[in-house]
């Protein structure tokens, strides 16, 4: 897939070194960028700090299990320019690792912990990556499509 540079203005604003980290782009009310997983942090860094873009607010950070791979979704909002953008990146299902954006937006600290908790995606460079919603002894990552409730748990619930 090639990037349609005329269609998506945000890609035009990226320096060439970062623009090559963009795999695909989609225009719309909320433009989408599909980026290379290992480039997430530097692209986000630029999106947050560049005065032309200044996406200073991380609205949402989550993941989707597409069976063969995970897709990370970042929704960013620029309070100065009043616009939003969605960043997506694909993560390997067997070895789910992605760079952390917690040093760019503090809000990412909890959201990356939640994504780690429920999907089991590790974020490199996160200051305190541990479970947040479930208890520490919990086994597995329940929002994965291949997660099944343990058999003894089911029989206990059907007491």
């Amino acid at each position: 897939m090639t990037t349609n540079r005329d269609e998506v203005s945000v890609v035009n604003l990226l320096p060439p070194a970062l623009a090559e980290g963009v795999i695909a782009a989609k225009s719309g009310e909320v433009p989408e960028l599909l980026v290379k997983t290992d480039r997430i942090a530097e692209i986000c860094e630029y999106l947050a700090s560049s005065p032309d873009l200044s996406f200073n607010y991380l609205v949402n950070l989550t993941a989707v299990d597409w069976i063969n791979y995970f897709e990370l979704v970042y929704h960013l909002h620029s309070i100065r320019h009043g616009r939003m953008i969605a960043i997506k990146a694909r993560v390997d299902h067997d070895n789910p690792v992605a760079p952390s954006v917690a040093r760019i937006w503090d809000a990412a600290r909890f959201q990356e912990r939640e994504t780690y908790d429920l999907f089991g995606i590790s974020f490199n460079g996160h200051p305190d990556l541990r479970r947040i919603l479930l208890y520490d002894e919990f086994v597995g990552h329940p929002l994965r499509k291949d997660y099944n409730l343990p058999r003894e748990e089911i029989s206990q619930q059907l007491r």
Partner: protein
């Protein structure tokens, strides 16, 4: 002079009359049932008619734990600790389907299947969530339960 000024009754009856009309619940909400519990305290439903309007922020001062909502496995140790911190005599009310049996969350990985798995429950109030009238009905049943108890004798002589 004494005529009309003396009232004869049994001590534990008088004692229970006072207890049942001053059941102070704990300010403790877990989910949407808590919103109905809050609505119960407003003038439209007026929980103050039963002397229960004094929601205490500390379990040390509370008589009644209204478990209003879903108890998750992560929250369960905190609920049990709050219960342990309450002084006797104390009462637990399971409000809503979640607190009774896990309700709509049967099959979930992180929900306790009823708060009675972690503490003794006196009154179960069904509903999802129960309306304030239902909560009041449950609390009136709790009052009847208190009326039947002989707690003064239990405290004084260690027997029922």
């Amino acid at each position: 002079m004494l005529r009309g000024n003396i009232l004869l009754t049994r001590v534990h009856k008088l004692y229970n009359w006072g207890r049942r009309n001053s059941v102070w619940p704990l300010t403790f909400g877990l989910a949407c049932c808590a919103i109905e519990m809050i609505a119960t305290t407003d003038p439209r439903f007026d929980i103050a008619r039963f002397g229960m309007e004094v929601f205490r922020p500390s379990p040390r001062q509370a008589d009644c734990l209204i478990v209003s909502g879903t108890v998750t496995k992560k929250m369960a140790p905190a609920v049990r600790r709050i219960w342990d911190q309450m002084p006797e005599p104390k009462y637990a009310v399971a409000m809503g389907s979640c607190a009774i049996s896990g309700g709509p969350f049967v099959g979930s990985y992180n929900v306790v299947m009823g708060v009675d798995q972690i503490l003794p429950v006196d009154i179960y109030i069904p509903g999802c969530p129960p309306r304030p009238e239902a909560l009041l009905d449950g609390l009136m049943r709790l009052q009847k339960k208190i009326d039947k108890q002989a707690i003064l004798f239990k405290l004084a002589w260690g027997e029922e």
